[in-house]
């Protein structure tokens, strides 16, 4: 390092520990003198730059830090409580959602499902066939004349499902009790199969209403659907107050002149 290089380094980094810088200072008296003056000036700069820091600055910073730490710990606890409440709320919402009809289930079938949940007679408790005349009369009171009635109906009752009127029946099929509900005054848009809460369901447009079936997974809806389509194809709407009479196992209408219009088969 020569004197020019030394002075340039001295002007930019007087405290440099660079080997060449230190070595030049050792061997050049003029540059050693310049270093001495530079150090003296550096001392002045250091004193000028070292402005007095506020008293208790460190204590105030530490107080702010401990306060923040405690707030953050408290907020974390609050966060946990909020999280727990949110989790509990989610469980409740999920439970309610599970209890509600699934989205792919038609609304009408959902109403029937809710009615079944509230129904006092269980499908599995009804194992004795009822007289077919009871079914005829139940339909007649809903304004529908049945020409015949499918075999194996163990229960019949006129029930509501939401705002609609229904004839609620129970039909065992291959040992499985199937809840069969004919909704008199609401026709389905199309035939739909669905499942919900471990049960299988089917809704079909039938006549001027809909037939909704609910059962465990192994139930044979096809046989029931077929028998009801056959029966409804022979049905006609009743004059209010009239009650038809079934004759024989399949049932034959008497006094058919009193009926006004035939129910259209789907």
């Amino acid at each position: 390092m020569n004197c020019l290089e030394f002075r340039r380094r001295l002007g930019s980094e007087p405290a440099s520990k660079m080997g060449a810088f230190v070595a030049h200072r050792e061997e050049c008296v003029h540059c050693a003198g310049a270093q001495y003056r530079a150090d003296e000036f550096e001392g002045r700069i250091h004193r000028a730059i070292s402005v007095a820091a506020p008293l208790n600055l460190a204590d105030r910073i530490l107080l702010a830090q401990t306060t923040e730490t405690r707030h953050s710990a408290r907020n974390q606890r609050r966060g946990w409580i909020a999280f727990s409440i949110a989790a509990a709320a989610s469980i409740v919402v999920a439970f309610v959602a599970v209890q509600r009809p699934s989205p792919n289930m038609p609304a009408l079938a959902g109403m029937v499902f809710e009615h079944l949940q509230e129904h006092v007679v269980s499908a599995v408790d009804s194992d004795m066939a009822i007289p077919k005349q009871s079914v005829i009369e139940a339909f007649a009171e809903r304004g529908i004349n049945l020409a015949s009635v499918p075999d194996g109906i163990n229960y019949v009752h006129k029930c509501p499902a939401g705002p609609y009127e229904t004839v609620h029946m129970i039909m065992p099929e291959h040992g499985v009790a199937v809840s069969v509900v004919y909704v008199v005054d609401k026709s389905s848009a199309h035939r739909t199969d669905f499942s919900h809460d471990g049960l299988r369901g089917r809704e079909i447009p039938l006549g001027k209403g809909s037939l909704v079936m609910w059962a465990t997974a192994s139930a044979d809806f096809d046989a029931i659907e077929s028998s009801w389509k056959s029966v409804m194809g022979e049905s006609i709407a009743l004059e209010p107050g009239s009650v038809p009479v079934v004759s024989g196992s399949r049932g034959v209408l008497s006094g058919s002149s009193v009926y006004r219009a035939a129910l259209a088969a789907p």
Binding site: L10, G11, F41, I45, I49, A53, L57, R60, I61, E68
Partner: protein, 177 residues
């Protein structure tokens, strides 16, 4: 005040050592950076709070000063992003050392005024070097500049100070070489 937990306690002690060891120099650096006492205190406090949150990331204890200064510079930059800072307040600087003699007070005051009048691009590396004891290479890394550029800025900073205070000797000597 009780520590939050046993594991927090050693972290807390480490942090306390940092604050007590570096808060003064950090305040001085912040002061020369922003030129306002209250703002400098806020900057230092925010810097240490951020350092507390990131203390686990500090691996090299020897580099702690550079780490803190980096945090402070970022805090200052954030502050600038939020609002334009007045840069001429530093001209009102008057923080005398209570233990200095009247002669020295006058000289220090004049030198402080001269430092305050320096362009920030000259003042910042000078303050980093004097307060932090950083080499030109380290300052270059801090400021994201080349080492040669930092050397030039430091050289010119000293020249300007001497020029303002009437110390022409070293400049003259270099010019003569």
């Amino acid at each position: 005040m009780k520590p939050v937990s046993a594991s927090m306690s050693s972290r807390q002690h480490q942090f306390e050592a940092l604050v007590r060891g570096h808060s003064t120099d950090l305040y001085r650096y912040a002061y020369w950076l922003c030129g306002q006492d209250a703002l400098a205190q806020d900057l230092v406090q925010d810097t240490f709070l951020r350092a507390w949150r990131a203390l686990d990331k500090l691996r090299e204890v020897g580099a702690v000063k550079a780490w803190l200064i980096t945090i402070l510079r970022r805090e200052h930059a954030r502050l600038f992003e939020r609002k334009a800072m007045p840069s001429d307040d530093i001209d009102d600087l008057d923080l005398p050392d209570p233990q200095a003699t009247p002669e020295r007070r006058t000289e220090e005051s004049a030198l402080r005024q001269a430092i305050a009048k320096l362009d920030p691009k000259y003042r910042e590396p000078l303050v980093l070097q004097v307060l932090g004891g950083f080499t030109c290479a380290e300052i270059a890394e801090q400021l994201g500049l080349g080492e040669a550029a930092v050397m030039t800025q430091l050289f010119r900073a000293r020249q300007k100070l001497k020029g303002q205070l009437g110390f022409e000797d070293q400049t003259a000597e270099v010019s003569e070489l």
